[in-house]
Assembly symmetry: C2
Homo-oligomer: 463 residues x 2
DNA sequence: AAATTTGTCTATTTACATTTC
DNA sequence: GGAAATGTAAATAGACAAATT
C-alpha cells in the first residue's frame, strides 16, 4: 500500500493553530473539512498520526481525536487503530443521486431504470379491477400493515426470488428505498455501523449518510465479502449489521456464491448481526439461488421490491422481518409513511396473486436480453461484467482511465454513466470501472448510439 | 410549582454505585432509565442536582451529566440550567401510535380519521382517467418532483388554505407524515431542537424521537405560543426550528390568532428559525386565515396534505419550501421515497385541477357538521373545545379526572379516546383532557353509542 | 442586584486495544 | 513475538452561563 511513499517526511497535513476565541476541536474539524472539500487533501491521503498533530499544535491528542471524530461522522475520514487515518474516497459524494432530468439531451445510462415500454398488462389489469371493485373504499386510509390475502400473494412471489417466508413476517413499504430508510431509521442509531461491499448501492449510502449511520467496507475475496473480512469488521469496527445484495450486486453485477451466503448467515447468527438483504434484483433471475435470509431467517431483513422487476410506479416493497425486529420496524414505517395507498397495495397484490406479475417479469427479461445482446456486440472487446438478464452492466476500463475521468468524457459526449467512485464506501479505493444501465435509454436506437460513443472513447486510450 | 414540597430532604433518586467493571456513565443512565420505566420515578419528578448525585457517588459531575444526556436523548428527561432536571411527562410514550385494529370491538374515537363514507366522486373521476389515458406510462418511475401542471393544480388548492405559493416552490411527498419525516431528516440533525406547542401532534413527536431531534415545549398565552416564550426558547433552548399547526391545532383545536401568526413570522425572520407549518387541517375551514408561511415565506416549510380533507388513500402532500432549503429537502425525499407513484400524483392532480377535490372537501364538511351537532347534543354540559367543521374535539375533563385515567375508563367501557398525556412534550404538564375523533366511528349510530358511554363516565365524577 | 444554584461544554489525563514492524 | 505506533474511550478539572433566590 504505497500511500505515502516518503513516510514521515513532510506532514501530509498541517493545520494552523486556530485563534484563541474559537472552539479548538471544532475549528480544527472545520479546517480539515475545507481542505478535503477543496481538494487540498485528496481521497486516500493518510493523515499524520493524531499525536504528531497534537505535538505540532501543542495540544492534547484527544482534542485532535475529537476533531477527527466530527469529520468521520460526516463520512470524510476513516481511521483504524494501528494503521492511521485516511481521507475517504467518497468524501465529495453528493447527498443524493438522481438522474439529470433537465440535462441537455443526455442519453441516460446512469440511473438504473427498468425497461420503459408501455405495459399493456398493467393497463388491462387495472381496467379489470376498476370495473369490478367498489374502490371508493380504496381511497380511505389503509391498515398500515395491509391485509392477509395481499401478504400471501407477496409470499408466493418472494418464493420465486429464493426465499420462502410467511405472511406474518411481512411489512409493506413504499418501495425499496423506503424500506431501506425505514430499516435504518428504526433499527439503527446515528453512529451505528453497518458493513457493506466496498462498492455498493448509492441509495443505501445516501440514506445512511442522512441518518448518521456509518458504513464500513468489508474486505472481499473473489468479488464477495470474505469470512475473514466480516469477522474483522464485527470485532474491530463494531458493525451492528451488514447490507448485502446477493443477486446481481449493484453495481458489480456479482452473484454471491452459495458458500458466501451460508457464511454470512452463520457469522450473522454467531455475532447477532442484523442482515439487510436487498433482493431488488433477485427476480431477474429465472432460476434463483437461495437467499441469505433462507439460511438465517432470525437475523435477516429481506427486502422484496417490485420496482425493478414488475412496475416501478407501483411503489411497493415488502420487508420480511423476524419477530424481534418487527415492532421497531413497524413503528419506523408508521413514522415515515403513516400508511400506504390501499389502492396501490390492492393493485400490486392482485398482480401478484394472478399470473400478471410473472408475465411482466418475463417481458422484462426478454427485453433485457435483447438489449444485452446489443451491448455484447458493441462492447465485445472489453470486460463487461454481468449476465444477459441483468438490467445494468459493469464495464472495467482499460489501463489509463479512472472511472471518474471516463464518466466525465462520456458526459461531455452526451452519455450519462456512473463511475465506480460514486459507489465507493469509506476509504475503499474504487476500481477503474463504470456502470451501464442497460434498460434506461429510451429506445434501442438510443442505446446503440450511446454504445458507439462509449466505444469511441474507450478506443482512443491515449487521452 | 410545588414539585417537591419538602425540598432537599430525602434525595428524590438514589442511584447505587455500579460495579467497577461497568462503564460508569452508561450504568447510571441504565439505572435511571429502568427506574423511570418501572414507575419508581414518576413523570414530573425533580431529580437531585448533578453535583449532589456526584458527591453521593463520589464521582465527577460531568459523569452524571453525561449519564443524564443519554437519557435526555431518549426523551426521558429534560434539564434546564438553574432549575434542575425533571422526568419527562411523555417518558413512557410508545414509539408510535396507531389504532388498535385488533382490539375487541372498540369504538374508534382515538385515531383521527376523516369521514369514512364511500366516495362516489373519487370513483367517477378514476373511471374517467382510466378510460382516456394511456396510463401504462403511469406505472413507470415518475420524475421525483412531478410535472408543472400538477404543481399548478396544487398551488390553486393551497391558496384556498390561506397560502399563495408558486409551483416552483413545491415538492411532493407521500402524505403529511412523510413530509414531516423528510423535513426532520433532511434539515435537522440528531440533537437539534425544535420548539412545539406543549401539547402537540403525536406523529410529529414520534418521528422526531426516531430521528433524535429534541422537542422543546414553548410557553403559551391564551392557548397559543407566546412571543416571550418563543424568544426564550430561541435564546436558551437553542431551538433551530418550530413546529406549528395554526388551524385546528391537534389536539386542542385552537385557531391561532392573526397577531400570533405575524409574531411567529417576525421572530422566525429575526432569528432565522425554520418554521414547519402543518396545514393539514387548514382546508377544513371555509374562510381560511392567512398562513404563517404567507408572512414569512423565506423561513417556512408549509405542508399541504390531502389526507384529512380530500382522500386519505391518495397519500399525497406538498411541501412549499423556500429556495434555501430546497435541495436538502429534495435530497431527503429522494432518500426516503426515491419517487412517488405517478399514478396517484396524476389522480390527485386531476382532482385538484377540476372541481372534484373541492366537492369532496364540501362533502366532508357537511358530514362533519352533522356529527358535531350530535356531539354538542350529548356532551352539551361539558367543555368541548373545537368548532363544528373540525374532525376532532378536545374534551376538558371535570375535576377529579386525569386524561390518562379517563382514557382507561373509556377503553374498558368500549371506546377508544386519546388522553392529553399522549400529546405532551417534555416536562410540560398535560391538562386533564382527552381528544375525541369526531369522524372516526363507523357510523352515526356508533358515535351516539360512544357518546352515551362517555357521558356516563363523566357524570359519575366520584370515581 | 448580587450571590448561589445548577446544568453544560471543552480540553485534558489516563488507560486501553489493535495494528504494524 | 515483543515493542512501538496509533486510534479510542472514559472520567475528570475547570470555566462558563443561565435561572433562582
Amino acid at each position: 500500500m504505497p500511500v505515502n511513499s516518503f513516510e514521515n517526511y513532510p506532514m501530509s497535513w498541517k493545520p494552523r493553530m486556530p485563534d484563541a476565541d474559537q472552539t479548538l476541536y471544532l475549528a480544527i474539524a472545520e479546517q480539515l473539512e475545507k481542505d478535503i472539500e477543496s481538494g487540498i487533501l485528496l481521497p486516500g491521503t493518510k493523515l499524520p498520526p493524531q499525536r504528531e498533530l497534537a505535538d505540532y499544535l501543542d495540544i492534547n491528542v484527544s482534542t485532535i481525536s475529537r476533531a477527527f471524530k466530527v469529520c468521520e461522522k460526516k463520512g470524510l475520514l476513516s481511521g483504524t487503530v494501528g494503521s492511521g487515518t485516511f481521507v475517504a474516497y467518497d468524501a465529495s459524494a453528493k447527498p443524493y443521486l438522481s438522474p439529470e432530468y433537465d440535462a441537455p439531451r443526455l442519453i441516460e445510462m446512469g440511473s438504473v431504470f427498468p425497461e420503459a415500454t408501455p405495459q399493456e398488462e398493467a393497463n388491462t389489469l387495472l381496467r379489470k379491477i376498476l370495473l369490478e371493485k367498489d374502490f371508493g373504499k380504496l381511497f380511505q386510509y389503509g391498515r398500515p400493515e395491509g391485509v392477509l390475502w395481499q401478504k400471501e400473494a407477496a409470499v408466493k412471489l418472494i418464493s420465486k426470488a429464493g426465499y420462502d417466508t410467511a405472511a406474518e413476517m411481512l411489512l409493506p413499504a413504499s418501495g425499496g428505498q423506503n424500506a431501506i430508510a425505514a430499516i435504518l431509521a428504526g433499527l439503527f442509531k446515528p453512529g451505528d455501523r453497518i458493513g457493506t461491499d466496498p462498492i455498493t448501492y448509492p441509495g443505501f449510502k445516501t440514506a445512511a449518510k442522512m441518518l448518521g449511520v456509518q458504513l464500513v467496507p468489508v474486505r472481499q475475496e473473489n468479488g464477495e465479502i470474505s469470512e475473514e473480512g466480516l469477522i474483522y469488521a464485527v470485532r474491530n469496527e463494531k458493525i451492528k449489521g451488514i447490507y448485502i445484495m446477493p443477486d446481481y450486486q449493484n453495481p458489480t453485477t456479482h452473484m454471491m456464491s452459495e458458500e458466501g451466503r451460508k457464511m454470512i448467515a452463520r457469522v450473522a447468527r454467531e455475532h447477532n448481526l442484523i442482515v439487510i438483504e436487498d433482493g431488488i434484483h433477485s427476480l431477474l433471475n429465472e432460476h434463483p439461488q437461495k437467499a441469505v435470509a433462507a439460511y438465517a431467517p432470525e437475523q435477516t431483513l429481506y427486502i422484496a421490491s417490485l420496482s425493478k422487476t414488475v412496475a416501478p410506479g407501483l411503489r411497493l416493497a415488502y420487508i420480511a422481518t423476524p419477530e424481534k425486529y418487527r415492532s421497531a420496524l413497524s413503528g419506523a414505517l408508521y413514522n415515515i409513511n403513516l400508511s400506504l395507498s390501499p389502492f396501490l397495495l390492492e393493485l400490486a397484490s392482485r398482480m401478484m396473486a394472478s399470473k400478471d406479475a410473472e408475465k411482466l417479469i418475463e417481458t422484462h427479461r426478454r427485453l433485457t436480453r435483447k438489449r444485452s445482446r446489443i451491448i455484447n456486440k458493441y462492447l465485445g472487446g472489453y470486460s463487461v461484467l454481468g449476465s444477459d438478464e441483468c438490467i445494468f452492466r459493469w464495464l472495467l476500463l482499460p489501463e489509463g482511465f479512472t472511472g471518474e475521468h471516463f464518466e466525465k468524457l462520456a458526459h461531455d459526449a452526451g452519455v450519462s454513466v456512473y463511475a465506480a467512485e460514486r459507489f465507493a464506501v469509506g476509504k475503499a479505493k474504487p476500481p477503474a470501472a463504470v456502470r451501464l444501465a442497460v434498460a434506461a435509454p429510451d429506445s434501442e436506437e438510443e442505446l446503440v448510439k450511446a454504445l458507439k460513443i462509449l466505444g469511441k472513447i474507450l478506443s482512443r486510450t491515449e487521452l
